[in-house]
């Protein structure tokens, strides 16, 4: 492989890896945050019912 091809592949590999990595990371975090929010909301609703009774 010539040197220009090495630089070419490094350049594009960095672009693809960072873009896809960021997409996967963000999408995973959305799930995590939403799960946490949902749990707390359920807990809160359950408590509200208890205190109402």
């Amino acid at each position: 492989m010539t040197q220009e091809l090495v630089f070419l592949f490094i350049g594009y590999a960095v672009i693809w890896v960072l873009l896809f990595g960021y997409l996967v990371f963000i999408t995973g975090r959305i799930r995590g945050v939403r799960d946490a929010v949902r749990d707390v909301r359920h807990e809160l609703d359950a408590q509200r019912q208890e205190t109402a009774e």
Binding site: I10, L23, I30, R34
Partner: protein, 258 residues
Amino acid sequence: MGLLGTALRRRAVGQPPLFGWRGLIVYAALLVLMSAALYMIFIYAPAERVQGDAHRLLYGHVAVAWLAFLAFGIVAFASVMYLWRRNPRWDSLAVASAEVGVLFTTLTLISGSVWGRHVWGVWWTWDPRLTTTLVLWFIYVAYLALRMYIDNVDTRRRVAAIFGIVGVVDVPIVWYSVEWWRSLHPVQSVTRAGLTAEMVLTLVVTVVAFTVFCFVLIRQRYLLERASDEGEGLRDIVRNRNDVLRQTGAPSAPEAGE
């Protein structure tokens, strides 16, 4: 949070993170566009007279640089809209675009550095275009850092919006740097570039593919920000409630983390 908050919360929770029918179409289109761009960059586009295959870095480099500019433009627009309307959704759009913009600026600097190492012979030099681009990167990293330093949510949004509007001043400076000052970096010129039809088509497809990718990233980051905002609001509710419950001796709810 009131009525507006309830409406926003519904919206943030009701939408899955780009799955289902619409998500499938978007991701399929993205896959097709990215594959097409990949094929065109590496096989369809001809080798360049002097640079040979290294010139293929042009397509990706130009695309990510353009999207960095676009993302910071969106930050400025969303910041203006936030200051005008005070709707937290504009603020979320601004954060999302700023983070994606920093990512694309990073990619611009890295791809440019690799290309420069081969063609110019150096990884980095303090040329006006490179220097102003690095300043652009620092401005929006500072923007993101600034947001972490301000606890009060309204102050944070307001200060960030002002910063987001001021920061975008560097975008035209980066663009015109190669015309205003002597630089190593070539000027951007479609007319002088002498690109063949194949090269232009490859550039167009690559730019379109990366633009779609950029919008997907901004959308996902926006949804994350909306969910985080909701968690922050909920945590306040839980804390207030726990304070009340503690006084009456009732068990308290767990506090929402991030």
